[in-house]
Amino acid sequence: MTELHFEGECRILLLHSARLTPETVEETSARLGAMIASASPDLVILDGDTISSPAADPRALLDAFLVPLSGLPWTYTFGDGEYKCGTDPRALDRIFSSVPGCIVGERAEGIDGITNAVIPMIAEGTVQFLIRLFDTHRETTGYERDYGSPGRSRLPYPLYSHHYMDGVRFCQTAWFDEDHARRSKEAGHALRELFVFHTPTPEHAEIPLNQAACRFDGVFREDSRCQTVNGGIGCAAAESRDVSAILCGHEETNDYFGTWAGMTLGVLPALACGAWLVTTDGTALSIRRIRN
């Protein structure tokens, strides 16, 4: 399944960092069940780090965790945890996508990352907006391997973060630009988009530092763990004028959103702290916090 049909406004339950283990899955699943009961979503998005530690049977963990969905559509992106949990990420992707109810979306081919996908959101027979999922990879320790170049035998790591996180790379920004233009041309009008991915952009980290200007809403408890070398996706989204929000995870206790260049940029809390219900028609967007 690659698309989702909804009526009226679409209700999306967005959560990240379930961090499933055999010991905690039952409790975490109960938490998910309570959130679904409270939010009545049309779609659930697992925004990375669903599995972030070694698991003997990831499929069993997912099955147990997702019991409360009871046929509700859901989708996912990978966080850095999925790349570090010990299961081959391609194999893990096959496991995720084979769980009933999963909307994989229309996957991007030929660019970095696995979970780059577009989900057309359809109401009244037409695409109302797109959900675009990006894979944000893991730490930047892969730079040297990925970006060999003439005269560059060794690449020092980025400097201005203690976390060295990767994020949406420029090749993925280029994919958005081309794919968005093509889809909008085919639709005959500019399609609105909602971006969801795990590791925040550097622009997300500016929101709490400029609270008045960005109309900050929420709490900022821990240092930002955003991408270190900006892949330009925030600027590309702004220049497109068609992206209503960029919603991310990764951080544990931060829970905020604000406006930047006309878009909503948000960092939602880890599942242990809560989740967000995002209600949208693709243009207008409201965020309701769901506490545990």
Binding site: P150, G151, L159, Y160, G232, A238, R241, T259
Partner: protein
């Protein structure tokens, strides 16, 4: 010449028979009607005679502002007749990028570009019409026998201010990304995403057609945010040179540095804009550098006035060397500002 892309410059650029290619970059001349033609031309001429470059790059803010201005094509031509005479008379190819002040007085860069390109030794190009700005182009540099593409020189327009960015993309001016007081980053525009995409696709096409990555350097006026960040870590990035002002970069990040990193061809990025900085550093394998200013109007610090030399060897163009060159060192006090 087996490689047909990118097309050769108006005057094809080649390494010399001894396997070298030298660029002289001079920026922020801030000239115009009433500029100190005698001093400026003498200084540029002295630089050429001292350094014998194979290409001169004017790194932006060639014109204006202040008491100096360019209001029409005749005034620009008059200014350029003087300023480019040292290159034209010596037969040295030259090119330019636009800075944030070049179109401050009513002559659009689109019109200015036609005048620039009319000079016989100007190898600048207007670039694709469908992307932002004027003067987005790439100049290939071939081996001495003209057979092998060895180096590409990218030039990108970094525009002017954030207000122009919001206007260009139809955004509400009140929704500009950040207030200008974030760190030292300014209310400046930057190379926009469509230009970065142009670089990215051009770089990919060059690699496809060449069958390998071709080393490249990139010139743009306003420094990137990565220059701002890297300069905070002086020891780690090996800063060499003078930093007498903070990096006055944009608060936008369109991903240009990241795109260069992912493409893996750009080994050096060179900026103008900051008159009081001439340092260079290496961040994530990419050398970034300023050239201070050649101005007798916008920079009155005689010790800083000058340019930057970038030397390439045909055997390994990616391993270029670079250094600043000062007017004071060449001309002594004869090259100082008056008063």
């Amino acid at each position: 010449m087996a490689q047909t892309f990118p097309p050769p410059a108006k005057i094809p650029l080649r390494f010399t028979s001894d396997g070298t290619f030298r660029i002289l970059m001079v920026s922020d001349i801030h000239s115009g009607v009433g500029y100190n033609r005698e001093k400026t031309v003498a200084a540029l001429d002295a630089l050429l005679k001292a350094e014998h470059p194979d290409l001169v790059i004017l790194g932006g803010d060639t014109a204006g502002p202040g008491v100096i201005h360019i209001e029409n094509g005749a005034e620009l031509r008059d200014m350029l007749d003087g300023l480019t005479a040292p290159m034209e008379e010596a037969g040295i190819p030259w090119c330019h990028v636009y800075g944030n002040h070049d179109d401050n007085y009513g002559l659009p860069n689109e019109e200015a570009e036609k005048i620039y390109e009319s000079y016989p030794h100007c190898v600048s190009e207007a670039g694709p019409e469908e992307i932002s700005g004027v003067g987005n182009y790439v100049l290939p540099v071939y081996s001495a026998d003209g057979e092998t593409l060895l180096l590409n020189i990218f030039a990108l327009d970094s525009h002017a201010g954030m207000r122009e960015w919001t206007e260009r993309w139809g955004l509400d001016p009140s929704l500009r990304p950040l207030p200008p007081d974030v760190g030292s980053r300014g209310d400046y525009d930057t190379v926009n995403v469509d230009q970065v995409l142009w670089y990215y696709e051009t770089s990919r096409r060059i690699e496809r057609e060449a069958g390998r990555k071709i080393p490249a350097v990139l010139f743009t006026h306003i420094p990137l945010p990565e220059m701002h960040e890297a300069a905070k870590h002086r020891d780690e990035v090996g800063i060499r040179g003078i930093q007498w002002e903070d990096v006055a970069c944009t608060s936008l990040n369109s991903g240009l540095f990241r795109a260069c990193l992912e493409r893996g061809d750009v080994c050096g990025i060179f900026f103008g804009h900051d008159h009081l900085n001439d340092f260079d550093l290496t961040y994530m394998g990419i050398r970034m550098a300023y050239d201070a200013s050649l101005s007798y109007h916008a920079c009155q610090i005689n010790e800083l006035r000058g340019g930057r030399v970038i030397d390439f060897r045909a055997s390994d163009p990616a391993a270029f060397t670079t250094r600043t060159v000062k007017i004071r060192d060449i001309m002594g006090h004869a090259g100082d500002s008056v008063g």
